[in-house]
Each structure stands twice: as structure tokens, then as C-alpha cells.
Amino acid sequence: MSAESASAIPRSQVDLLDFIDWSGVECLNQSTSHSLANALKQGYREDEGLNLESDADEQLLIYIPFNQVVKLHSIAIKGPEEEGPKTVKLFSNKEHMGFSNVNDFPPSDTIVLSPDNLTGKPVLLKYVKFQNVRSLTIFIEDNQSGSDVTKVQKICLYGTTVETTDMKGLKKIEDGH
């Protein structure tokens, strides 16, 4: 069964790009010339020619921490028809996962992408499971055609923030202020 697409992003949901903590972003099994930045970062992800590609085999494990707590509503994944991802498992708040322990925990959500989803339409997630997300792990298990290389052109996360303090934004109050 393919995942249901949203027709449009509800107005309250924002692109969570600004809340990603880039210093902690990791991707296992990515090819060095086609790295995660090509799929996530503003500018790179809009470029059709720049993809995130897998290296040794077709699986990819992406770890994205956020700098504040967010609620995740939907995710849009864009990729080529043949080598785009098919089965995608999402884990919330699990740090430093490896390929060996992805199957040890149940994922917070599993989506199976159809070629239609791969055009970049956002896919609704189980919102109730993603109410309190500090970090997100995306495990791409296989791709559409079963080839050895998985290509992802764009990953977009949509959601809202919970009112938490961004510790980095705290500034010391000057004396005599």
C-alpha cells in the first residue's frame, strides 16, 4: 500500500530546515561525491543534478538532530523513478543507530513510496508518534528498482515547533542594562 499524499501543506506546518542542527547531521553509506547536503540543504536540493547517493549498497541511514523539539507532520522525498527510495523507516529520538540495530526497534513510522510520491509530494506521517522529536533517523531500506545505488534528490520535513528554548540563542544579560 502506498503512502497517502497530502494535497497541500496545511498552513501551520513549516519547513523544518531551519531547525536542523547541522553539526550533528550524519549519513551512513553515502557516497562522498554525492553527500547528504545535496538532498537537505537549501539550494542544493532544488538542483536536479545534485543527488544523495548510496555507496556500498542500496541502504542509507540518515541521522538528523534538531536544535529544538519539533512535531513532525509530513515528509516529502523526491527522487528518480528507478533508483528512488521505496521503503523508508523513521525513528524518532534514537541516537547513533547503525545498520545492525535498525531492525532491533520498531520504527516510529514506515512509509512505502510509490513513484507518484517520488515527485516530491509530501507524505503524511502518523502525527501522534512524532509529537516530541529531538532527532530523526531516516532508514532507507531499498529502492524502486532494486538496484545497487539509491538516489535521493530532495528530502523535506514539514512540521511545527514546540515552544522550547533554543539554548544557543540564550544571551547573557549585560550588567547595568
Binding site: L28, N29, D55, D57
Partner: protein, 387 residues
Amino acid sequence: MVLEATMICIDNSDWMRNGDYSPSRFQAQSDAVSLICGAKTQSNPENTVGILTMAGKGVRVLATPTTDLGKILGCMHGLEMGGEMNIAAGIQVAQLALKHRQNKNQQQRIIVFAGSPVKYEKKVLEMIGKKLKKNSVALDIVNFGEEDDAKPEKLEALLAAVNNNDTSHMVHVPPGPNALSDVLISTPVFTGDGDGGSGFAAAAAAAAASGGASGFEFGVDPNIDPELALALRVSMEEERARQEAAAKRAAEEAARQEKGEESSSKAEDATMTDHVNDSASEENKKTTDDMALGMSMNISGSGHAIDAEMLDATSEDQELALALQMSMQESTPSDASKVLEDQSFVSSILATLPGVDPNDPAVKDLLASLQNQSEPKKDDEPPNESK
């Protein structure tokens, strides 16, 4: 200075009893291991190192990744040799040990000492390599000891499967007089990926690395005699600096030659004006002129050209020499080029020069460049009529 967790896989099989490395293969290996542990912990205090043995009854982890150097060196004692090396199991256990490291921010690295024959197939090793690469584990292989036909090929295949952006390396150490540790110091196994290495191996590693993989700079082994190597290097640099200064001074000499009327123009004498009347430079005239002229050709748009001509002219015509001298002394040292402004003077001087044809295009270019200098004319030089 990369934050790293390292697992060292030691070969303690029966093949290690061999004495082709002094004192024995096993001892050489132990020394190398101790050096590596020291280097890793020194390059970054948070680095951890662990040890496991691959042969004996089975793969056995002697120490999980720890910062405690004493514990690591202690567990190297009393190791027994025997059995056969199980490289596949060894690497896999090492990977597992690294997975459960305490500090997840550390990069993962495995160093394998492969001293005995590898009994696994290339395919199996490639699979293991791929798995390591997938989990971003780097692998260093030290190939020493037993020389088997298929061994280098298998290890190369393993390295190729693991290697991601040159983070993994392989080192071949043939048996010989050099100790295993000495050879390793100059390799990337020790120095890390271009970081330059740890404190206590940095000088040796840098010197050896700069001298090339196999040779040493100045023919002196920096490991054996670091002070000598350092002294040689320092003296070489001093010599180079001195030569540069000498060359610079020689250039300045040519600039002041006509003022100084130097007979031995190559002398390092700054007070040229003392030798104003000394024009007996017959024997050196030719060479000096050619050299000075050559220099003047190279130095475009400067006042040196006229100096060469001056020198030549003065040798032939004493009165002219004196006159020129006086005019030179009147002007400031940097204004030597004022004389050049008199075009007719310049061309007449040039005509008197042996071997210089005023119609030569090079000479014409030079004249043109001299003309472009915007200095006030100083017409107090008597024109040279002796054409």
C-alpha cells in the same frame, strides 16, 4: 588530532616465532603496537585504543577501547603464540568492539597486523570490507612476515573494498635490518590522515615523510640520530639564506658599479664611493660588462643599463670617467637614472661599446624603456664625441 577509537588486531599465531625480523616477528610486532598506542593517545587525549588477538584458541579481546596506556601495555605481556590467524573473525569482533565504544563521536579504525597466511577467500574479505565501509570504519593493514602468493592480492582487495576517501591504508614491511616500528613510523598508519602525527613521533615522521617513503633526508636516519638530522637541516637552511643574501647583494653591486668604479666588481663592499678613481679594471672589464649588460637587459626600465655603459666608457676614456663620476656624485644614489635622460648621450655611449650594435632591436627596446622614465633631465654630462 582526529578523535578516534582504534582496535588493534594482533597476530599471535605460530608463524610469529620466526626470527626474520629482529628479535622475533612477535617481538617486533609488540614494539610496533606499543608505539602505535602511544602515538594515538598522544595525538588526542580522548582517543581510545583496544587490543585483540586473532590466533590462539580463538579471537580474544584483551582490552576494550580505553585511554589507559598502562593497561594496554600490560595486557601485551605474557601473550602466547600458537594456532592460526583468523582474520575475518578478528576484524568482525573488532568492529563489534568499536560499535560499543563509549564515546560515539569517535571515528572508528581497525589496525590489522597480518603476519601469517590468509586462508580466507578474496570474496569473503571483500564482503567484510564492504560492511566496514558501510559503517564508516577505516582499516589499516600491516602486511609483514609470511610472504604468500595470494596474500597481497587478497589484502589489496580488502583494502579496496573498505577504502573510503583514502582513510584506509596498507603497509608492506619486508624482512630486513629495519625494525618493524621504524618502518611504520613514516607511514600513514602512524601519522594519521595528513594530520602530521603525534608529538613524540612528529619530528621523526615529518623528517622521514618529507625525505620520501624509503629514503631519509641528508642520508641520516632521523630516528637514530634526530639531533644530527636537525643540525643538518638547519645548516642547509642557513646556507640557503646566506646564498640568497649574497645574490641580493650582488645585484646591488651592479647597481652601484659605475659609482664605485670597482675593479673587482664582485666584492661585497658597501662603501663604493671610496673607489671612485679606480678604473683599472681591464682584465675584468669584458666579463663585468657582459654580466652587467646582461643584468641590465634583464632589469627593465632601471638605471642599471647606463651603469654598464658607464663602466665600459670610463675604462676607455679617463676624462669622461672623471666627469661622469662628478656628475654622479652630485646626484643622489637613486637618481643614477637621470643620466639616462640624455638620449644622445646614451646612444653615443652605446656606440662605443664593443659588441653592442645600436641598431640591435634589443638595444632599441632598452632605449625606449629608458626613455619612458620620468626623471628631470640633467644635462651636465659632456657628450661623448669619440664615436
